[in-house]
Amino acid sequence: MEISISEIHEILTQAAANEESLIAALEEIQARYRYLPAEALILASETLGVPLSQAYSVATFYHAFSLKPKGKHCMHVCMGTACHVRGSPQVLERLESKLGIHAGETTHDHLFTLETVNCLGACALGPIVVTDGEYSGQMTVSKVDTLLKRLMRAEKEAANDQTGISE
């Protein structure tokens, strides 16, 4: 995704220029780009009048922020207690081995980012995997395979469509 300095600037100038607005402004930029580009931290520091070190400490302290770009699809595995006792470690492990990355990483082709989340509060459905906001409940290892197959197939079709257009 292209970074637009003017867009980041616009988000920042809408916030009050003080320390108190820092987290909310960064949350908005994170929501827009799904990560915090280095430029955003520098701009936030200048526009809101907080030290860059503070912007950086906030960006690295809270789980909601990421300094690295995310993949096209974000998969979150719930690691809440209920999901844990119902087998979320196996589900996570299967995703890690199938995608070839660890939790917190993005695949080389930038298609998938795999993350863990502490509790989504839908414990009756555990273990839960959320893909781009879509919940899949009572996950098992074989359901993970089905889910990934579906996502990969959709990607392949999208890629074929694209080549079709360019041809």
Partner: protein, 621 residues
């Protein structure tokens, strides 16, 4: 909406709603909690609209179809309740809707297959209130969750909402409000159980002395396995607001914040809508209900840090800094947000306030035990039949909570322990199942009421792994400011990981106990002071499991990978090759239609084969 200038105008809204049939009209309520939404309850709601229109010309006018907040019985979702009959339908799918409309709505008959069936007798139960899960609860805070549309402030008002606020503003002094809360015996529902009135009084005194102050609703529900705060905010956000406005009046604060997790987008939306509506009615803003009292409220989004549930860390986060706690005193009631006196209460505490003021302190104090008053909400999850949110009077026995309401343990397995209070809490084993659930009793057993997370473990749960799980959580969430928590939790986790990996040594258990005691004594905030609890309490009740791991290199529950092997029963194996084809480490061998076997040297114990096998042929040893 026009501003309500007096208590009378509020009463008029209520009368108008009731005269229009609100609360008495035939209603179909579809649960719109996060769990039921995942099961597809929104589509079910849409299907009801469609079917009513298709099957009868005036049906849509006769019936209210509501998407309500969480009904609590998440295990059986999507839930639909037909009123006034009070019929509960469970697991309702879109394809069931035509039959419900034809049979129940038009024909007055019950669709038996969708009713809740008693797991013991198999008998269907028609009425929602007769289902044991609901029958044995006392739903005071959650009562309106399944009944009102959380987007409609008028529905809350019709159900008696904001009447307590109106009475407080018209008839009571702030001191009288605090006295009422004190007489009710309300204790903080966020975990520590501190007297709410004492906190309020201290804050009020400092607000009067300094001229300003703030109140905060702590909705940073980060305890994994607890989701009642979210459900309250999703299902009945106005009760939280009403409690906060009453509290602000009592303490003399004119600005409040709700600090809420951004992982709860639905709750944020409902809360924002509720604040907007309350503002339009003049229930927030200047001269509330014609009184000289002003109060404003805004939402602050948390950014995903468990430690921000701690009061001083939460304050730092609202101010725009990282959520590091600081030493107390000064307490937030003395010096909180921007140095001003600040009172922070949990969602459940704020929600209890309107109930106390509406029904009287005497009524509230009659519920519960001599020292723990009122009700508590637990999210009962894990190895249990009826996963869900339950509200019970303080002092109910753990056995009733787990068996009468929770429906016991699934799959014919046996109860091993209930972990109460999440990463700060501890385990209650089977021999203490009859303990009354209240602040003092749980603390004496090494657990805490905490925020109300209750995770049930059965014999397939390894208690060492369970302790390791919680320690992983707290270690990751430790903010790193103080040494005991930062380094101590890391050392405890490393020891637990070693034990789970089959490399435990004699002396490890004593080391964990000693280190745990040190961390508890010397950490800066509640996170570190309680972090060792899950480990200490599992050692207290399940020391034999630790010893089995350390001395026998055995995981009795069959969970810790380094200590188990997978075996295929040649009698049961049909040689279908499903496991062989899917094994990620190529550890399974065998000819087609011949029993297979697993090479333990190569097997990574990922569990895929077990989850795939249709013949139950693979077991853990």
């Amino acid at each position: 909406m026009t501003r309500l200038a007096s208590a009378n105008e509020l009463a008029e809204v209520r009368e108008r709603m009731l005269a229009g049939g609100n609360g008495s009209r035939p209603t179909i309520s579809v649960c719109g909690g996060t769990g039921c939404r995942v099961y597809g309850s929104e589509q079910v709601w849409g299907a009801f609209r469609q079917e009513l229109e298709a099957q009868g010309a005036n049906l849509l006018l006769e019936y209210d179809i509501k998407v309500t907040g969480c009904h609590g019985f998440c295990e059986k979702g999507p839930l639909v309740v037909i009123r006034p009959q009070g019929i509960l339908y469970t697991h309702v799918r879109v394809q069931d809707v035509p039959e419900i409309v034809r049979e129940t709505i038009l024909g007055g008959r019950v669709v038996e297959r969708l009713l809740y069936h008693d797991p013991q007798t198999g008998a269907p139960i028609e009425q929602e209130e007769e289902v044991p899960f609901y029958k044995n609860q006392l739903r005071l805070i959650l009562n309106l969750n399944g009944q009102i549309d959380p987007f409609q402030i008028d529905e809350y008002i019709a159900a008696g909402g904001y009447a307590a606020l109106a009475r407080v503003l018209a008839e009571m002094t702030p001191e009288q409000v605090i006295a009422e809360v004190r007489a009710a015996g309300l204790r903080g529902r966020g975990g520590a159980g501190f007297s709410t009135a004492t906190k309020w009084e201290l804050c009020r005194r400092n607000v009067l002395a300094t001229g300003s102050g703030y109140i905060v609703c702590n909705a940073d529900e980060g305890d994994p396995g607890a989701y009642m705060d979210r459900s309250i905010m999703e299902g009945n956000p106005h009760r939280v607001l009403e409690g906060m406005i009453i509290g602000a009046y009592a303490m003399g604060a004119h600005q409040g914040f709700v600090y809420i997790r951004n992982e709860y987008p639905l709750a944020v939306r409902h809360l924002q809508r509720a604040i907007d509506q309350a503002r339009e009615y003049g229930l927030l803003g200047k001269d509330i209900l014609g009184s000289p009292f002003d109060f404003n409220l805004s939402i602050k989004l948390g950014s995903g840090a468990f430690v921000c549930g701690e009061e001083t860390a939460l304050i730092a986060s609202i101010e725009g800094r990282i959520g590091e706690p600081r030493p107390r005193p000064p307490f937030p009631a003395q010096s909180g947000l921007w140095g001003k006196p600040t009172n922070i209460n949990n969602v459940k505490s704020w929600s209890s306030v309107p109930l106390i003021l509406a029904n009287g302190a005497g009524w509230y104090a009659s519920i519960g035990t001599p020292t723990s008053k009122g009700t508590m909400i637990f999210s009962v999850v894990g190895r249990i039949n009826n996963t869900g949110l339950v509200e019970v009077p303080m002092g109910i026995s753990l056995r009733d909570l787990i068996y009468r309401i929770g429906g016991g343990i699934p799959g014919g397995r046996t109860f091993k322990a209930a972990q109460i209070g999440g990463p700060s809490g501890g385990c209650i084993p089977a021999e203490h199942l009859d303990v009354p659930v209240d602040y003092e009793s749980l603390t004496s057993l090494g657990a805490i009421v905490g925020s109300g997370g209750l995770v049930v473990a059965d014999e397939t749960t390894c208690m060492v792994d369970f302790a390791r799980y919680f320690m992983t959580f707290t270690q990751q969430e430790s903010c790193g400011k103080c040494v005991p928590c930062r380094i101590g939790t890391r050392a405890m986790l490393a020891t637990l990981e070693r034990i789970c990996a089959g490399q435990g040594q004699p002396g490890d258990i004593d080391y964990l106990i000693e280190l745990g005691a040190d961390i508890k004594r010397s950490s800066l905030c509640g996170l570190g002071q309680t972090a060792p609890n899950p480990v200490l309490s599992t050692i207290r009740y399940f020391r034999d499991e630790y010893e089995a791991h350390i001395f026998d290199k055995r995981c009795p529950a069959g969970v810790c990978k380094a200590l188990i092997t997978y075996e295929i029963d040649p009698e049961k194996c049909t040689g279908c090759q499903l496991c062989l084809r899917n094994c990620t480490s190529n550890a399974i061998h065998g000819e087609k239609k011949q029993p297979h076997f697993i090479d333990p040297e190569v097997c990574s114990r990922c569990g895929i084969c077990i989850s795939l096998c249709k013949f139950d042929a693979i077991s853990v040893h």
